[in-house]
């Protein structure tokens, strides 16, 4: 094999622009990167920073309106920009291959997986159909797909999302390329499935000696997969270095700021709250003079940072002589000194019980209209979206419901909001039964006292109406204001509360950024002075730096209004940061419930344990046990008979797990685990995450 020091990919001063009707928009500016054989480099940044554009430029696939306007990309010494179509074609899929963000979209829906895999060796190597088939099957077992023969004959839609991504990875590796580009390969997948893919990629690149360029917005994932990392901001690399050096001594204020925005294990909503980066990501055509991060930077100095552009420079003193940063003041800034948090937020007083959920069940009927089902009399099946939920929430408390897709958390939110009614059991808000009360039959006060913040910022506001109009409609609807002028007044004050300028009232949603739309969504939810707000993944679609600000805002308003917050999420790090108590759900059932400390330390439910291990943590000092779950999430239509987690549980006892529903075991006050394994056994399990004392005490 080649010397491990051989440079495979050499990018120098790459500039890429998109040409639109508004003119030339630079997407990537002065990008340089070296990638050696067998090395893995992470490219991290928020949306619009140009990271995916770099990958597409390496592939020389820019679309009709994009173009490389400067610099060079050399692959094994050959300038890719100078290759002809035919030479390029031979390179693609053979020497450089790619794994995409959405596996379902990346596979052709009307060709069998086998055909799509076999094409690779058939095109690039002179092999027979038989040999291509053998190679494809071998590769499918290499990506740990069960029953490769069956997968070969399947169509993409017949396998799960995680399996599809394994197929895409198999396809990329079939010709044993020297460079593999991964563009957010796990963003569309559930956390536990993501963990499996990440482990697979790391193992395979080691096995085949493939160099990786791993593109992600998630610093934690980069930490787990890469040797070096490049941080991009607004089209430029702002900092690069080895994982160790960059994660321990981030020098650029942006990089440092990013770490302040991520809910790492030592963050705490009261004692050590997140420190959001102020402002918004600049749009490509609105970049400032000088340092692009200038307007959002606390260390900005006119003269030093602007108006001249900032060059990238090497950092000394970290032991990594390739640690570079695009900041003129990096040597002056002492990030450690700046850390003593300005803000310590007072903890909330928890009051009386606001929400009681008592044996609540929600089943959906699914009509199977096939003749076979009608003959056997089983034409109606039940989807058990929620099975016997029991818990309560108190005033001012933050209760989190955690789970992956299909766990029933959204169904529960719908029942609370009155969009669905319970099948069995009761849901009481402020002592009043609402489980069977549809939204139309609730009073304006009831409606106003229970509101929701939605997940998708682009969906949460009606694009056809103005912001002010939409908020005023809510105010009028809840009977908070009697006159139009009064409603207008309240609306303007709500805009102040969510820290948006008042003239936003006249704007339409399309003129707002994602974070701003979520703020309006929060303003709307709090318009009727709610006693409880349900937040359904309110920040999961936002960029890290924006998400932190929105999270903090949400909690500030909650504090002010003494509102109970029901926070629905799949992300355990956010949940650990902001919630007081946690309910872990899987396939419609509660696996574990308790205070945040209870849930994050043994005894764990085996599912909680796996979930904790699956969440990437962007802190090299945190030690984590690796638990990778086998298989995919079962379908809600056809859940296992016994414990719902039995099909993937690494601690499965045996037949009892398959056949019997586990009883709920109580461990002290309020901590409950539904598992057949005894609490004593579960207590013996090592903690999944070990946070070093130094940071924990901070």
């Amino acid at each position: 094999m080649t010397d491990s020091r051989d440079t495979i990919l050499e990018i120098r001063d790459l500039c890429i622009s998109y040409f639109t009707r508004a003119g030339e928009i630079p997407a990537v500016i002065d990008f340089s990167l070296d990638l050696r054989a067998g090395e893995s480099v992470g490219l991290v940044g928020e949306s619009g920073c140009g990271k995916s554009t770099v990958a597409m430029a390496i592939m020389q696939y820019m679309g009709s309106n994009g173009g490389i306007v400067g610099g060079s990309i050399k692959f094994k010494g050959r300038d890719l920009g100078e290759l002809g179509d035919e030479e390029l074609r031979r390179l693609r899929g053979k020497e450089i291959s790619m794994v995409y963000q959405e596996p379902m979209a990346a596979l052709n829906p009307s060709l069998t997986i086998g055909r799509q895999l076999m094409e690779v060796p058939l095109t690039h190597e002179n092999v027979s159909e038989d040999e291509a088939r053998q190679r494809a099957i071998a590769m499918l077992s290499d990506v740990r797909l069960p029953d490769p023969e069956r997968v070969m004959d399947a169509y993409p839609h017949q396998i799960s999302g995680g399996q599809q991504q394994r197929v895409v990875i198999a396809m990329a590796l079939l010709s044993n390329p020297s460079l593999l580009l991964l563009d957010e390969p796990t963003t569309a997948l559930d956390v536990t499935v993501e963990a499996g893919i990440v482990e697979l990629v790391a193992d395979l690149s080691r096995k085949y000696g493939t160099a990786l360029l791993y593109i992600s917005h998630n610093l934690g994932l980069i930490l787990e997969t890469c040797d070096r990392v490049c941080v991009m901001y607004s089209g430029e690399v702002v900092e690069e270095g080895t994982i160790d050096s960059l994660f321990t001594w981030p020098k650029h204020p942006y990089t440092h700021g990013l770490f302040g925005c991520i809910p790492l294990p030592h963050a705490d909503k009261n004692a050590a709250p997140l420190v959001p980066i102020r402002g918004q990501l600049p749009l490509p055509h609105e970049r400032p003079d000088g340092c692009n991060f200038g307007p959002r930077c606390d260390y900005f100095q006119d003269g030093a940072c602007a108006p001249a552009n900032v060059a990238i420079q090497t950092v000394t003193g970290t032991g990594d002589n390739e640690h570079r940063v695009r900041c003129n003041r990096w040597a002056d800034i002492d990030h450690k000194a700046a850390i003593p948090q300005g803000i310590v937020k007072p903890p909330m007083d928890v009051g009386e019980t606001v929400l009681e959920v008592d044996g609540m069940k929600k089943y959906y009927e699914v009509h199977d209209r096939s003749i076979g089902a009608m003959l056997s009399g089983e034409s109606v099946k039940y989807v058990k979206a929620n099975e016997a939920l029991d818990f309560a929430a108190k005033r001012g408390e933050t209760l989190a419901i955690v789970g992956e897709s299909g766990c029933g958390k959204s169904t529960f939110a719908k029942v609370l909001m009155g969009l669905e009614t319970v099948t069995e059991g009761a849901v009481r808000l402020d002592g009043k039964e609402i489980g069977n009360e549809e939204v139309q039959s609730r009073s304006p006060e009831q409606l106003g006292s229970l509101q929701m913040v939605f997940q998708n910022p682009n969906d949460t506001l009606n694009p056809s109406h103005t912001i002010g109009g939409q908020i005023m409609r809510v105010i009028r609807k809840f009977g908070v204001a009697n006159t139009k002028a009064e409603a207008r007044d309240i609306m303007l004050r709500l805009l102040d509360t969510v820290k948006l300028p008042r003239d936003f009232a006249l704007r339409r949603p399309r003129q707002l950024s994602g974070g701003q739309k979520q703020r309006i969504g929060i303003a709307r939810a709090f318009a009727g002075n709610p006693s409880m707000v349900i937040a359904d993944e309110p920040v999961s679609a936002l960029d890290v730096s924006v998400a932190a600000a929105v999270t903090e805002l949400l909690m500030d308003i909650q504090r002010e209004h003494k509102t109970t917050l029901l926070f629905i999420s799949h992300d355990l790090s956010v949940v650990r940061y902001l919630s007081d108590r946690i309910v872990v759900m899987y396939l419609g059932q509660i696996m574990e419930a308790g205070t945040t400390d209870d849930v994050f330390s043994p005894p764990y439910h085996p599912y909680t344990e796996a979930l904790l291990s699956a969440v990437p943590i962007a802190d090299p000092e945190v030690e984590k046990r690796h638990i990778v779950l086998e298989g995919a999430l079962p379908s809600v239509l056809n859940p296992p008979k016994g414990c719902p987690f039995v099909t993937r549980c690494p601690r499965k006892l045996g037949a009892i797990c398959e056949n019997e529903r586990p009883a709920v075991q109580k461990d002290g006050d309020g901590h409950a685990i539904a598992c057949h394994i005894s609490l004593d056994e579960l207590r013996k399990i090592e903690p999944v995450i070990k946070v070093p004392e130094r940071q924990a005490a901070e």
Binding site: M452, D459, H465, G468, G469, R488
Partner: protein, 295 residues
């Protein structure tokens, strides 16, 4: 509905928005040509009494060739006259009124019915959807023109019957489009937000959903107007159109068909007139679609 608009709504801002959407139109050459053709015919129809050189019904001078002079009264028959001596140009000009009244009217009726049906089917789903969808499937399964011929033959040819027949045959198509859009839009979070604040179903359908479906609906309306004009023309051509003597393009073609080989001018110009108007709507639709996809 007034209180959902901007805090300080003004006629000026509405006008500004209308101007902006027109400016958008200018970005597509295709759309501009289409708008030009349609605009031309609309102006002709509005100012028919001013621009028409002769009375379209008056018998003046039989079988004059295009460009021939009106011997008795002065003036020129730019496009000639017909067997009865009526001026072709004037008949085409007045005929634009007929088509530009009945086609939009029929389309509007079809849209009103189709939108209500589509909103209900897509929003309520369940049995309402089953019944409405099945019904529209049945109507749509029938070849359109066969349907028109039978309806008109049974109930007689009149303006009202033509509008009713077109509404009956087109509303299910509109319903399908609206239903598809609603099925998508009803899952948006802003609809859930409206539901959770206790808005009525029709408020949600009309205020929250319908405005966001307008893009595809406007494009479809332009295309459908084109089809309706063809339909009205075809019915006239088959002798099932508006009763004479009012000028109607399809009817003119039917009337002069027998003489097409001897006097092509009588029949060519109405054909060009109707084709250009349809082309206008089709180009407009295509341009609008292109613009809407661009953003």
């Amino acid at each position: 509905m007034t209180d959902i608009s901007a805090p300080a709504p003004s006629a000026g801002s509405a006008l500004l928005r209308a101007l902006k959407s027109f400016a958008l139109l200018r970005e597509s050459g295709v759309a501009m040509v289409g708008a030009g053709l349609v605009g031309f015919w609309i102006l002709v129809a509005i100012f028919a009494p001013l621009v028409s050189p002769f009375d379209p019904l008056a018998t003046l001078q039989p079988l004059a060739k295009p460009g021939a002079d009106y011997v008795k009264g002065g003036g020129t028959f730019l496009l000639g006259t017909d067997l009865l001596g009526r001026d072709i140009l004037s008949r085409i000009i007045w005929g634009s009124r007929t088509v530009l009244i009945y086609a939009p009217l029929a389309t509007l009726c079809a849209y009103t019915v189709g939108i209500i049906m589509g909103l209900a089917a897509g929003y309520y789903r369940g049995w309402i959807d089953d019944v409405l969808s099945r019904l529209s499937d049945i109507i749509l399964s029938f070849p359109v023109l066969v349907l028109y011929v039978i309806i008109i033959a049974t109930f007689g040819a009149s303006g009202l019957n033509i509008v009713l027949a077109i509404t009956f045959a087109s509303a299910p198509g509109v319903m399908r489009i609206v239903r598809g859009l609603v099925l998508d839009l009803r899952n948006r979070d802003y609809v859930a937000a409206a539901q959770t604040r206790g808005e009525s179903s029709w408020y949600i359908m009309l205020v929250e959903i319908l405005p966001n479906a307008r893009g595809p609906l406007i494009v479809d309306a332009c295309l459908r107007l084109g089809y309706v004009i063809i339909t009205i023309g075809v019915l006239g051509f088959l002798g099932l159109g508006l009763p004479p003597p009012d000028p109607d393009w399809g009817g003119m073609i039917n009337e002069y068909r027998g003489m097409a080989m001897s006097f092509p001018h009588m029949i060519v110009f109405p054909c060009i007139a109707i084709s250009s108007l349809i082309l206008g709507f089709n180009l407009l639709a295509d341009g609008l679609r292109e613009i809407s996809l661009r953003d």
